[in-house]
């Protein structure tokens, strides 16, 4: 599925993605999701379309462990997050919720570019630029979690963690 790019910079923290001042909305996810990237990109909520991509630089998702950061990205219909690097807790939170977080060189992707992700092939087509980007295959454990539809679904299926077998 093709989607448009929302391009962000380096060091976008979970506080940027969903600020702590909306802490009180964490048990009301649809309301919380309206405040995504509120200060960084005030037009995001209004203009985002299902299937869009968030593309960023280094250390995306640093800071607080709040899984709500990954959840509000998912709830806004984002197909995948592409970045040069991710903070580790956020990276796990994405996969646990069935949201692919792809590590790749994002310098050549610009705001508004139309992308298509081929997860299994480790490939991203940039239709706007007519270019193909490649990335290293997902670690087997992350692929397994994604294939099962997230960690909750995995545990529901096995009543156990069966990620290393």
């Amino acid at each position: 599925m093709k989607g448009r790019t929302w391009k962000l910079g380096d060091a976008i923290s979970t506080d940027h993605i969903i600020p702590g001042r909306y802490f009180y909305l964490r048990s009301n996810l649809p309301e919380l999701a309206k405040h995504i990237l509120e200060y960084e990109r005030p037009d995001f909520v209004e203009k985002v379309s299902s299937g869009d991509f968030i593309v960023a630089g280094h250390n995306f998702g640093l800071g607080s462990s709040r899984e709500h950061a990954a959840l509000v990205i998912k709830l806004n219909g984002i197909q995948a997050v592409l970045a040069k690097g991710f903070a580790r807790i956020f990276y796990r939170n994405c996969f646990n919720n069935g949201l692919p977080a792809i590590i790749c060189d994002t310098d050549r992707i610009e705001e508004g570019d139309e992308l298509e992700l081929f997860l299994g092939d480790g490939k991203i087509m940039n239709h706007t630029k007519g270019e193909t980007l490649t990335f290293l295959p997902l670690p087997a454990v992350m692929k397994r979690i994604l294939d099962d539809g997230g960690l909750v679904e995995h545990v529901k299926k096995y009543k156990d963690l069966k990620l290393t077998e």
Binding site: H16, S64, L163
Partner: protein, 417 residues
């Protein structure tokens, strides 16, 4: 081939020897959440269909972020967590008991254990020699329900701090210097392992400050060996029997070694809006401050309050600055009450709040307005963290906080010592 602390602890909990890069399912000794991540974790446990949890006596729900609750919605979250805990036997650490990482360290975390917490600063437990790390609500839910979690065994960066710490330099300055040096993603996915004679001589409060901020360099854990300092501290907590000696092997393999000379350190300040945007106090220039905040899981311990009170004693907080002091736990609070530290703060014009995360979370007890500047002892200074996205957060040691409160601008504590 020898093992790092991370390899040793993870191997002991994987039921087999595991080495760098391996993915393993790891037994969890202690799992916890706080009131911002707990409700989601509890719902995930329900969603997975578990009616019981693996080890309720070693599972904790902390109420520390919104403590006491400033909003109806959060009161409802608290009520939900209390009810869930009652049904499952999970332990509750109520409002006013203190910050999860501080209370966990005082009462629960043991050397050599694996601890997961749904809060990024869970790595504080590394000071006690535990593989303690932050996770999201789903990983915490799985750890609570099944008593296990999966980890990739991390590479380890050895951090050697050597020499005598100068007067006015603390654990906070060591860790801010380290993060400034290696960067906010300098240790992403990796373990930090601290060593050297400065660390050997550092008391538990300083070790916890360093371990707490390991995540600000991206690290999974900030591990310390457990030694006589650890043993004495556990004894002070009435837990002498929990001590176990943990040390890396002499021939352990490290990804790299970072060396820091203690004698060269100066007070370090992290400037807005990144923790690795560090300057020494000499480079900071004149920065007027509206609010000084002393506390948090990074610097809310008795030793931190003492370092600030020593400077503030007999002096007053600047007329254009307010100072907020939030003890890390009820134990810290009562000890500081008994020895006169709290009175020193109050007499100097500071405001003392109940124990908890306080102003660091941007929810209550010191929310910043547009254009306001805060000097805080907390671990992080991201834009908008303490309230307005148009406010500015600088990070420094408790001693810097006290000197800053007196002068109304970021100040060098060494002249007061």
């Amino acid at each position: 081939m020898g093992m790092t602390l991370a390899e040793k602890i993870l191997s002991a909990h994987a039921g087999k020897e595991v080495r760098v890069g391996e993915i393993a399912v790891i037994k969890v000794d202690l799992a916890y959440t706080q009131d911002g991540t707990g409700p989601l974790a509890a719902r995930k446990i329900q969603e997975m269909g578990f009616k019981e949890v693996c080890n309720p006596k070693r599972t904790l729900f902390f109420f520390d972020h919104a403590s006491p609750s400033p909003r109806m919605e959060l009161s409802n979250d608290h009520a939900f967590l209390r009810e869930f805990a009652q049904k499952t036997g999970i332990q509750v650490s109520e409002v006013g008991q203190g910050i999860s990482h501080q209370v966990a360290a005082e009462k629960y975390v043991r050397p050599g254990e694996v601890v997961v917490g749904a809060d990024s600063h869970t790595c504080t437990g590394g000071a006690i020699g535990a593989f303690a790390t932050g996770v999201g609500s789903t990983d915490a839910a799985v750890a609570i329900a099944l008593g296990k979690v999966w980890f990739r065994v991390p590479e380890t960066i050895r951090v050697l701090v050597e020499g005598k710490l100068p007067v006015g330099i603390y654990g906070k300055d060591i860790v801010l210097h380290l993060i400034g040096k290696i960067g906010a993603e300098g240790a992403t996915y990796k373990a930090l392992e601290l060593g050297g004679d400065t660390i050997d001589n550092l008391q538990m409060a300083g070790r916890m400050t360093i371990a707490n901020m390991a995540v600000e360099a991206g690290a999974k854990v900030g591990l310390f060996p457990s030694d006589e300092v650890t043993r004495n501290w556990l004894s002070r907590m009435g837990r002498a029997g929990d001590f176990k000696k943990m040390a890396p092997d002499g021939d352990a393999v490290y990804e790299k070694t970072v060396r820091i000379k203690a004698k060269d350190l100066k007070p370090v300040i992290a400037c807005p809006h990144q923790v690795d945007n560090t300057k020494t106090i000499d480079e900071i220039g004149e920065v007027k401050v509206d609010q000084v905040f002393l506390g948090t899981s990074c610097n809310g311990r008795l030793e931190d309050l003492h370092a600030a009170a020593q400077i503030l004693k007999g002096k007053t907080v600047h007329s254009k600055t307010r100072m907020i002091v939030t003890p890390g736990s009820r134990l810290v609070y009562t000890e500081a009450l008994k020895d006169g530290t709290i009175e020193t703060f109050i007499n100097s014009g500071a405001l003392v709040t109940p124990p908890g995360c306080g102003a660091c979370v941007g929810l209550h007890e010191g929310v910043l307005g547009d254009g306001e500047v805060c000097l805080a002892t907390q671990p992080r200074n991201f834009q908008g963290r303490m309230g307005s996205p148009k406010s500015f957060i600088y990070l420094g040691s408790p001693a810097v906080a006290a000197a800053t409160a007196i002068e109304g601008k970021i100040a060098d504590p060494r002249k007061y010592l």
